[in-house]
């Protein structure tokens, strides 16, 4: 399992002499082999592990999405669960009320999230730094309350009973022996596509504009970069990527609930990026994987010693504090942050 994740991450940073395409194919073969073994030998890969893998990939998409805002644009956002939730709720509502195809609902969710991103992006033009963080937080909370209080959106309980999507007439859950295989492949392709997209943006005119805005907004403006355009663009890209993950989440869990909008989720997405390493595609994917596997591991410790509380929730905070002290740029991050500070 681990090797698959690592491979997909190396794709972008070209480790072990492999180039992007080669890494992609290696990891694709790996994931297909896993699915094949799973189909032929019963219980070769426990369902629980498959569930964790799907979550890792899902979180990787979210982390890649936030990376545009918190990485390239250098704004901390504590409300990215809002786009995740909008994607999930759009898919859920479309599937439930209009009976639309799942694949059509993904772009609709992406558009909805992109529209929701506009006010947030515009407020980032007026308000900066820590005040922006509270705005993003409050924005997400407001959506949560709207979902809780709207009966059509299912209220506190959310919407349940979302049908699993069809691939060429076959249910995605029926592709592999266990119902997770199809999602594994789908999400893997999604992570690859988003990584490739990120990698291309990073080296494009747009990417350089983001970089300039992050380093010095006033200087960037003086160079003739349209700050408003690029800030809105970054927020929209970020929102659409997160909404994509949300749509898959809705289908995978077969339900949506207001918990998707919880601040805990937003904080989780932010920590994937911060712990993994801002602006590093490999870093954020590995950060998401690490912070998905580690809590599961600690859950088992909790069960083993039959503790009354979850040790992960406490360790999580300590990890953040220590990380900021020892390695503020994240595990796989570039030394960018420190260098910036020394200059300042």
């Amino acid at each position: 399992m681990e090797s698959k994740k690592k491979a997909s991450a190396h794709k972008t940073d070209w480790f072990f002499g492999l180039n992007g395409t080669a890494t992609f194919f290696v990891s694709l073969v790996l994931i297909l082999v896993v699915c094949y073994i799973n189909n032929t030998i019963k219980n070769a890969v426990p369902t629980y592990f498959q569930h964790v893998i799907v979550n890792c990939l899902l979180n990787a998409v979210l982390a890649l999405g936030l990376n545009f805002i918190s990485g390239y644009l250098g704004q901390t956002s504590l409300g990215h669960a809002v786009f995740f939730g909008i994607g999930a709720y759009t898919t859920a509502c479309l599937l439930k009320y209009t009976g639309l195809n799942f694949w059509v609902s993904i772009p609709v969710g992406m558009i909805a999230a992109a529209l929701a991103a506009v006010p947030l992006a515009l407020s980032s033009l007026r308000v900066k730094g820590q005040f922006l963080i509270v705005i993003t937080y409050a924005f997400c909370e407001i959506f949560r309350y709207i979902c809780i209080n709207t009966p059509a959106l299912g209220g506190n309980g959310g919407l349940a009973g979302i049908q699993s999507p069809l691939v060429f007439g076959t249910k995605i859950t029926k592709i592999a022996a266990t119902n997770k295989g199809g999602y594994m492949i789908l999400l893997f392709l999604m992570v690859s596509a988003v990584s490739y997209f990120t990698w291309r943006v990073e080296r494009s005119r747009t990417g350089y504009a983001f970089h300039a805005i992050r380093e010095d907004e006033i200087a960037a403006r003086a160079m003739g970069i349209n700050i408003k355009y690029f800030k809105v663009l970054a927020m929209m890209i970020s929102a659409t990527i997160c909404a994509m993950a949300g749509s898959v989440q809705a289908a995978f869990a077969t339900m949506v609930s207001p918990e998707l909008f919880s601040s805990a989720k937003s904080i989780q997405i932010l920590t994937f990026v911060v712990i993994g390493g801002r602006m590093s595609i490999k870093g954020v994917i590995l950060g998401a994987a690490l912070l998905t596997i580690l809590p599961e591991f600690l859950h088992s410790i909790k069960d083993m010693f039959s503790m009354s509380f979850d040790p992960w929730t406490i360790l999580y905070g300590i990890l953040l504090v220590v990380m900021m002290r020892v390695r503020p740029q994240g595990f796989w991050g570039k030394k960018d942050v420190e260098a910036e500070e020394e200059e300042a």
């Binding site: 999580y316 905070g317 990380m323 503020p328």
Partner: protein, 298 residues
Amino acid sequence: MVDFLQQVINGLAQGGIYSLIAIGWTTVFGIVGIINWTHGEIYMLGAYAGWLITTYAHLPIIPSLLLSMVLGAFIAMAVDEIGYRPLRKKGVLAATGFITALGLSQTIRYSASAGFSPNPKAYPVLVNQELITLVSIGDKKITISSVHLIVLFSAVVIMSLLELFMKKTLTGKAMLAASQDMQTLRLMGVNAESLIKITFAISGALGAAAGFFIGMLYYINPMMGALAGLKGWSCAILGGIGSIAGSLVGGIILGIVENLTAGYISTGYKDAIGFMVMILVLLIRPSGLMGYRFEEKV
């Protein structure tokens, strides 16, 4: 009309508590320049300190309030010592302070949850609950509960004392100066570190007092810090960062607006209204109702 006034009166005590939290936020923000995300957690711990003191030591209201304020002050100073001071020394507080605060608040919240159990706790009865009639119009009466009255009164007293401290003592004046320009103050020979510690102590004491008061009104639980902290921050923004009177006004307005929302629109949106107010104020008039125009801190 009578119902409306009654709703307004009901919101006052809650508003007073919000104001106390708000001042805790803004004092630290003014001087250290970061949003102290752990403030909600200090408020929660203050409530638990009060609960321990009143339940197990059976102290009367004033000594237990003072004791929990002292404890809150120490907790806040410990947070600064463990979390922010090392970063300040390295000069990376602006970039890493927020994540550190986030981590600390997570740790404190869930440690408290592990230690005190997530079940809600109630304070013993400290003041006899009775309804005091303020005015009677016809056969309808506008009443205020004695507990609410005491909470509101104490909150205003604490804030007035703080205002006096800021205006009359040298330390208070130094704090005001520090919120304007820390660099120059250092050149004037003020010990910045001890000033920051005092700021955290005051902030912690106010947070703990707010927690104590909330314990007198409602059940307390380890998760209550997050929402209350954010609401305190919205009050601070509404009233204007750095202004004690502004925080008082902001807090009372939010308390009343929340109660009116619950009464006339929907109880479900009661908690959301504070966030909407905060976003609107930040976008339309970032200096708040009574604050001075602050310099961009990040």
